[in-house]
């Protein structure tokens, strides 16, 4: 319990530190939102100055940060200059879209990847392994963007699923069931890209882990005591082999918001990815900070969850923690 509290506190501190760094870096980046405007002769310097005051950009850094922090604690992440709307609801909508995609993709990835890894690990050299291993090697080697563009090219050619976007035109007029179908169909392409890359990673990790554990003397000893193959795999091998997979799972959660940026941009999925990209390019200060912070929350949460699961599932780590604490 102490351990949980400690980790949680550390996470909060980390988040706070991150927010400050984020603020700092955005400040240090050359240029500001108004640079474009300044080039436009139709907008007078006075207008720009008043706009700056309005957005509080004329105050010193410390003051701005302090005000922002206080507001953030209340859930108000500032105002987006480009979109002319508060940051929080904007982020929230986009984040929901991203999560819809990534949660589904992650779920499928693990659902497919773990059994596949178990299968290829325990049946090394046999048919399933001979098929799966080169495939996952290939998928691992290909960069995500190439995979994305490749699949997109195929889809555009044959047009059996929509190649981009999240909803069709006229979405509002559809019945609830049709709405779900519509979104699902749009999710196929980005989802496929994410899942293909993800399954390869998971399968590799699980396979390697299973292979290593299968060679352990205690598994041989269990075999010698007459314990059946299937039970051996799931009750004796898996608990030991799970550790690297659990860490990987933490990564999966950490990447729920941030890991799909490329895919979203390429397939025009209206998620957090394209938003961050645009905001960064246009120096939309509070939007960038808000988006990065949100991603960071997921990252930190993901690692925290992985650590907690590890402590809960592996007695050796529990012992190590209570000694070190």
């Amino acid at each position: 319990m102490m351990y949980v509290l400690q980790r949680f506190l550390r996470s909060v501190l980390l988040l706070w530190g991150l927010s400050f760094l984020c603020f700092l870096f955005t400040e240090m980046a050359p240029g500001s939102f108004f640079d474009e405007m300044r080039l436009n002769p139709q907008i007078s310097p006075e207008t720009i100055a008043s706009l700056r005051t309005r957005y509080g950009l004329d105050r010193p850094l410390g003051v701005r940060y302090a005000r922002w922090t206080i507001a953030a604690i209340h859930g108000d992440l500032g105002y987006s200059i480009a979109y002319n709307t508060p940051v929080t609801p904007l982020l929230w909508t986009r984040a929901k879209n991203t999560l819809l995609l990534t949660v589904t993709a992650t779920f499928l990835t693990w659902l497919l990847g773990v059994p596949l890894g178990l299968l290829t690990g325990s049946a090394r050299g046999k048919f399933a392994d001979k098929l799966a291993t080169p495939t996952s090697s290939f998928l691992l080697a290909v960069p995500e963007i190439v995979l994305a563009v490749g699949i997109l090219a195929l889809v555009v050619r044959w047009r059996f699923v929509p190649a981009g976007g999240m909803m069709s035109l006229g979405f509002e007029d559809l019945s609830p069931w049709q709405k779900i179908r519509d979104i699902a169909v749009h999710m196929l392409v980005p989802g496929l890209i994410l899942v293909l890359g993800g399954v390869a990673v998971v399968e590799r990790h699980v396979r390697a882990s299973v292979l290593e554990v299968l060679n352990m003397p205690y598994i041989q000893a269990a075999r010698g005591l007459g314990i059946g193959r299937v039970r051996l795999l799931f009750l004796h091998v898996l608990p030991v082999a799970a550790n690297p997979a659990i860490s990987l799972f933490g990564f999966s959660i950490a990447a729920l918001l941030g890991g799909s940026l490329v895919v979203e941009v390429v397939t025009a999925w209206p998620g957090l990815g394209p938003l961050i990209l645009e905001a960064t390019l246009s120096r939309d200060l509070y939007l960038v900070i808000g988006a990065v912070l949100l991603s960071a929350v997921f990252m930190i949460a993901g690692n925290l969850i992985a650590d907690l699961i590890l402590v809960a599932s592996d007695p050796r780590i529990r012992a190590g923690e209570s000694n070190a604490a």
Partner: protein, 280 residues
């Protein structure tokens, strides 16, 4: 009366340990403070030059801790360690370097005490690299010399350590330990994990080397079987303290402390499984 400069080396005390203590700190429970685990407390003994001391005890008795302190792999918490006439328990940093030449260690598992991927030459010359400033030629000559001393063919110098058997690897470890011409060699469970014949061959090698180089040995073991016939004196440790000490024949034929009795019964005579009954 003038001092006799020809008095035999054998009477000179090489190692003197006084009231050596070392604690390890562990945490008990989640909220309690650190509690000290006395690994070695108040250990005192001496060894004459050219002689062998066997330190025996079960696991956790503190024998390895004493070895590590004498070799200054650890810093003792209190007490004194004298090698020749230099006190080394308080020495720090660079001053320890000359000490390393005089005291060397041979560990239990030669596969892990050396980088098994090294060639034999590389493994043996490592101490030479750190201490002396010879050329490659000179080093290789010394390596060949050392290999001959441990009955290994110098032609095998470039082979990897992994290509050798357990007994041969232990010979390599001994060669490495002899590279800097130490006066004191500490062997920590150096025979465990080897076959009977191999153990005896290594033991014979060590006895020969002791005679030819006037080496002083500390043999650490949990089992009296081999070491009792190699030692001049035996010290028995239990729970961090020396509970019995004396000439080897004395300790073996007339064990006093119950711990000693147990060890003697388990090792010598016959019938290991009756050891517990025999010692009472």
């Amino acid at each position: 009366m003038p001092i006799d400069m020809n008095s035999p080396m054998a009477n000179r005390v090489l190692l003197r340990v006084r009231a050596l203590s070392k604690n390890y700190w562990t945490r008990r429970g989640r909220f309690k403070r650190r509690a000290p685990l006395a690994a070695a407390s108040n250990v005192t003994f001496e060894i004459e030059s050219g002689k062998t001391l066997a330190i025996v005890g079960s696991s956790g008795s503190g024998k390895s801790t004493v070895a590590r302190c004498v070799a200054r792999l650890e810093k003792p918490d209190s007490g004194e360690i004298w090698i020749d006439d230099r006190e080394i328990a308080r020495t720090k940093g660079k001053d320890l370097i000359p000490l390393r030449r005089q005291v060397q260690l041979v560990f239990q598992d030669p596969s892990t005490s050396m980088n098994a991927r090294f060639s034999v030459a590389k493994a043996i010359e490592e101490p030479l690299l750190l201490q002396e400033h010879d050329s490659r030629e000179e080093r290789r000559t010394r390596v060949a010399e050392l290999m001959r001393e441990v009955a290994l063919r110098p032609e095998w110098m470039e082979r990897r350590v992994t290509e050798f058997s357990g007994g041969q690897r232990q010979r390599i470890a001994i060669a490495r330990a002899l590279a800097l011409r130490p006066k004191l060699l500490i062997l920590d469970e150096a025979f465990s994990g080897l076959d009977l014949s191999t153990q005896a061959q290594i033991a014979n090698l060590l006895l020969e080397l002791q005679a030819s180089h006037s080496l002083t040995y500390i043999l650490i073991s949990h089992d009296l079987t081999l070491v009792s016939r190699m030692a001049d004196t035996i010290a028995v440790m239990s729970e961090g303290q020396i509970v019995e000490e004396g000439r080897a024949e004395e300790v073996v034929t007339n064990p006093v402390h119950p711990k000693t009795r147990l060890l003697v019964a388990a090792a010598l005579g016959f019938g290991r499984e009756n050891a517990a009954q025999q010692s009472s």
